[in-house]
Amino acid sequence: MEILIYGTINSAALALYALGFAMVYGVSRLPNFAHGALFVLSGFMTWYFLNSLELNYFISIILTLIATGVIGALIYQFILIRIRGMEISEIMATYAMGLAILEGLRWGGFKGMTYTLPAFISGSVDVFGVSVDYQRLLVVVIGGAVVGLLWLFTHYTRMGLALRGMAQDERAALMLGIDSDRMALVAMAFGSSLAALAAICLLPLGNIVVEAGYNVLILAIAVCIVGGLGSWMGAVLAAFLIGFAQILTVVYLGAHFQMVVALLAIIVTLIIRPSGLFGRQKELEERV
């Protein structure tokens, strides 16, 4: 029972980490290595709105979501657009960007372990005899909601369909008059906002620290790979796989194998199914 509940929670968290990354990559084939940085940044942003500008919690959350989205868009507009398609450059540029943001925050005094966001609702309840605090339940709820909305969005709105078109086949999309740059821009914005959302849901559980940026990035990448790069529903499923795998390792193997298991999962997955567990069929051709 515990395993089930906390496994779900853990998975939901992972899914939240990964969705933004998966989205950006899925649509515009951009590996956004600044993902973790955006995550942390938005955390501190909310904190700032909340404590320094003494705004209402809800307002500051909204502000953060928007601001992060804008930042993402700007990053694309002024940096990535110039090196679109040069994979290595993309990776390096986004990585450098992330580094700059994180270290910048640190320099700006946002260091140490004293920053945190208040939980939406504190306290805990017993679910099937397992006590869970509300925030964690909320994470699951929000995670589910986000996935649901994303699905609706990509299946029933013009823009969503356009994004999916891009994800399927950029050329074809271009022929149909979908402006690939604009879509990529939108994707970046969305992805960033998703990162912010994840931050806002998960940070109240702990505290806001710069180091988290790196971990988040690695986890996000891990999930996306196992799920098959670019397919964000795959990412969600992968999140559950890894999430439960981790919890199970903690319970039966001991916690310090968590990371080893995760990494092993990635390597094995790639060697066996290069396109990830839920990657698109044609990508299997990637294997010579």
């Binding site: 940096i79 290595i88 450098a96 580094l99 990494l263 390597i267 010579v288």
Partner: protein, 339 residues
């Protein structure tokens, strides 16, 4: 390429001397000869003289470190642009080479100048063996797996607490003198640089490039791709391992942090800056990046911010890479022409 007005465009034309000094005709006059040789000589002489002109030991040490990164950068550039394997696992090579050198030195008491080549070869063999299962992977998939390798190695050593665990291995001999150190590492760089340049232009080099451009045709010509990939990985990892071995002897210490991400990332950054596909560019990139990061130390925490910004600037505004840009300016001139 920016356009001035509607009816103008910029065109690039090879310099006359380039054409004249093409192929055998270069022997016609000293001018043509020098046109070809000066750039190469400049690099070689420059690197050889560098240690002599540097202010003090500290900067010599910086150069050594830069050269170690240069080795990694060459190995990355070689794999990525001449074999088509984007390998983000430079740290894995460093770690393997480093630990091997450490063991050879502490357990078997071999002197540095023996352990370094030995560790490079053994290490290369080991890395190649371990990477073998991923060789069929292509593109981003190989990249990611190779990125995972060092992380994995680190965790394993940590979890099993072998090879000195997180404390690492102490008490390794250092070089007999800093000059030996300097010229070993510089020599290694030059050797591998021109070695690989030669290699990629030899027939087998052409085959490797073929593997990158069109592996189907290679197989259609009755050649086993994996075999050539293996060979390439062996060469590349040998460079990385040598870098690691030298590092270990410089600091008389070896530990898991030799699998750290920086050893994978920085060389790539250097390659991108210096110009991908031109092996020399990788070296130049390192000789720029590493000193910059050292100069920035005085800025404390801000250092990395500046560093990242500079890096980004180079990548975004000189995306072709310094050397490529330089070569273009060297070989061609631009002018506006009416359409």
């Amino acid at each position: 390429m920016s356009v001035k007005t509607g009816q103008h465009r910029q065109e690039r034309i090879d310099r006359g001397i380039r054409i004249r000094s093409d192929g055998i005709y270069a022997l016609m006059s000293w001018r043509e000869l020098s046109y070809l040789t000066v750039p190469r000589l400049a690099l070689i002489v420059g690197m050889l003289v560098l240690p002599l002109v540097l202010p003090g030991m500290y900067w010599q040490r910086v150069v050594s470190i830069a050269c170690i990164y240069a080795l990694l950068a060459i190995s990355f550039d070689f794999l990525a642009h001449f074999v088509g394997l984007v390998c983000l696992g430079g740290a894995f090579f460093v770690g393997t080479g480093g630990y091997l050198a450490a063991i050879l030195n502490t357990s078997f008491g071999l002197p540095p100048l023996v352990t370094i080549p030995l560790a490079s070869i053994l290490g290369a063999a080991l890395c190649t063996l371990l990477l073998l299962p991923c060789l069929p992977l292509r593109g981003v998939y190989f990249a990611i797996v190779s990125l995972m390798y060092p992380l994995f190695a680190m965790r394993v050593i940590e979890a099993l607490n072998i090879l000195g665990g997180t404390d690492g291995i102490l008490g390794i001999d250092s070089f007999s003198s800093r000059w030996v150190e300097q010229y070993t590492v510089i020599g290694a760089v030059l050797l591998f640089l021109f070695g690989t340049r030669r290699l990629v232009n030899m027939d087998i080099g052409l085959v490797l490039r073929g593997v990158k451009d069109n592996d189907q045709a290679i197989r259609a010509s009755g050649m086993n791709i994996t075999r050539y990939k293996t060979l390439a990985v062996f060469i590349a990892s040998a460079m990385g391992c040598m870098g690691g071995a030298i590092l270990v002897h410089i600091y008389m210490w070896s530990g898991i942090s030799q699998f750290a991400l920086d050893f994978s990332i920085l060389p790539i950054a250097a390659t991108v800056i210096g110009g991908s596909g031109t092996l020399a560019g990788a070296v130049i990139g390192c000789l720029i990046l590493v000193p910059i990061s050292e100069l920035l130390r005085d800025f404390g925490t801000l250092r990395i911010v500046f560093y990242a910004v500079i890096l980004m600037g180079f990548i975004v505004f000189r995306s072709e890479g310094l050397l490529v840009y330089g070569q273009r300016k060297y070989h061609q001139f631009q002018r506006w022409t009416r359409l």
